[in-house]
């Protein structure tokens, strides 16, 4: 039991003494999650818009598939991306295995369904007269997309926060694709898995506190952005 309190306190020590191993893991986590957020937002928002806005045969089935992908296990995504990136795999020549962009690739797959599903729901929930109005005002397809996304920005921001939460806390992809290599691909979550494996439970708890601190910082920044957007 005592390792809980000990770990909690040690988390602050790691953060405030600038522990180099901890900060290396923090920057790896921030780097991979930033890349994967950029990836899942730039791909996910247009796809989510199309899914919510367009009417086409098989739309319901596609919606169900996307909703199902919300439950994609991270270890399986890790395995899939590993199969692609291993030197014998189709993308083996890229040298992305055991690298941060490799991790980001898997995490983008993890974040995509969340962004797509929540964007589609947000677009569907908008006033049905919006596209009509835009068309009568002479907007083209791209302007419709932009205006609709702007109208749904709070819901999309919520989608981003949800996707970020899943991405930053996953361990299966980072472990399988990144390999938990010290100073290179060791993220906070793989470091926690390692410390727990070593029996250093207090250190595991401490790193858990560090991860929460990182997430808190990101969310404070995001809510700052939201305030700006309202103004």
């Amino acid at each position: 039991m005592d390792f809980l309190l000990q770990g909690f306190l040690h988390g602050f020590v790691l953060l405030f003494t600038g522990n180099s191993e901890t900060y290396s893991a923090i920057w790896t986590t921030v780097g991979a999650s930033t890349l994967s957020m950029i990836g899942s937002l730039t791909i996910g928002i247009p796809l989510g818009f199309l899914l919510g806005y367009k009417i086409f045969p098989g739309k319901k089935i596609l919606r169900t598939i996307v909703d199902t992908l919300l439950s994609f296990p991270t270890v399986v995504i890790g395995l899939l991306v590993y199969a692609l990136l291993t030197r014998h795999g189709p993308l083996g020549g890229t040298g992305l295995l055991f690298s941060i962009p490799g991790i980001a690739m898997g995490q983008t797959i993890l974040g995509l369904p969340i962004i797509i599903a929540m964007t589609a729901t947000a677009v569907e929930a908008l006033d049905k007269r919006l596209p009509m109005t835009l068309i009568t005002l002479g907007a083209n397809q791209r302007q419709i997309l932009w205006a609709t996304v702007l109208e749904a920005r709070y819901s999309i921001m919520l989608a981003a926060v949800a996707a970020y939460g899943r991405i930053v806390s996953e361990v299966g992809i980072s472990m399988m694709v990144g390999g938990n290599i010290k100073w290179h691909t060791r993220t906070i979550t793989t470091a926690i898995a390692l410390e727990t494996g070593k029996g250093e439970f207090a250190m595991g708890i401490a790193l858990g506190m560090v991860l929460l601190a990182v997430a808190l910082t990101v969310n404070i920044l995001a809510s700052g952005l939201k305030k700006k957007a309202i103004k």
Binding site: H88, F98, G197, G199
Partner: protein, 274 residues
């Protein structure tokens, strides 16, 4: 405008983080959890090799089964493992070559100090028979690691079948220290390599709840070897660097350093390169 600027800045930052910091040579190695969890690699081998040769070792610590698989998939240049039987299979397949024995420790059977099944001081065969007869809890790695393979071979050589589905036989599917922790929570027995046990004892302040009960039997010998990935199997493998690493591991200076690597005043690995 401000937001666009912020976005561009974060993009640049992310890229700066992602691009490799230095263009120095790196050697990819797959190894077992025991060499990593004891701190041997992080605290001794990796920094010392970097200082001596300028080559950085990047290692992934997985079970021996997965380490060998990674070699077969050409994801690493060299492996440091401890399952002679499985190593031979991969050498015969042409995946690995230049097998070099580097160091050993031994396996031990540990259990609660009260020793409910009463196996203290027995031979391995008698101890396993007793554990089975008394249905005492025994935690197994169950993950195809070197230690797991060894444990399976011990049941077999004791003339017993592996108690696969018995309620008292707990297959954790996890690393060694996690398995020891589960054994101790269940007041049961398990088999571990001595290096990991000493590391575990160290995290418990030198007084762990599980004690060494069976040791010294010669079937418990645990040999660690390094093998290079064969360029005939993986044409991009960095064979020369792998050979350089293996020779360096077997050199007198490194062997001496391995022998001096201690926790709680005890050696974790005993060098035995020829």
């Amino acid at each position: 405008m401000n937001r666009l600027y912020g976005f561009a800045l974060s993009l640049v930052l992310a890229l700066a983080l992602v691009l490799p910091a230095s263009a120095g040579q790196t050697l990819m190695m797959a190894t077992t959890t025991s060499t990593a969890n004891t701190g041997l690699l992080d605290e001794l081998i990796v920094p010392m090799f970097l200082k001596d040769t300028g080559i950085e070792i990047k290692f992934v610590a997985v079970g021996t089964g997965k380490a060998l698989k990674m070699a077969e998939n050409c994801d690493v240049d060299v492996v440091l493992v401890h399952a002679p039987g499985a190593e031979k299979v991969y050498v015969d397949k042409g995946v690995l070559t230049d097998r070099t024995q580097l160091m050993y420790n031994d396996f031990i059977i540990i259990g609660p100090e009260s020793d409910p099944a009463g196996v203290k001081g027995m031979t391995v065969t008698d101890a396993l028979k007793t554990i089975q007869a008394k249905q005492a809890v025994f935690a197994s790695r169950g993950d195809n690691s070197g230690t797991h393979k060894k444990e399976l071979s011990l049941w077999k050589s004791a003339g017993l079948s592996v108690p696969e589905k018995s309620a008292w036989y707990v297959q954790t599917g996890q690393g060694m220290i996690a398995t020891i922790t589960i054994a101790s929570e269940k007041n049961g027995y398990t088999m571990t390599d001595r290096g990991t046990y000493i590391k575990y004892a160290d995290t418990k302040g030198g007084n762990p709840p599980l004690k060494v009960l069976v040791e010294g039997d010669k079937v418990l010998f645990n040999q660690y070897s390094a093998l290079a990935v064969n360029t005939g199997h993986c044409k991009d493998a960095q064979y020369d660097m792998a050979k350089q690493y293996i020779a360096w591991m077997a050199s007198p200076a490194t062997q001496k350093a391995i022998g001096e690597f201690k926790l709680l005043g005890k050696k974790l690995f005993i060098p035995n390169a020829q």
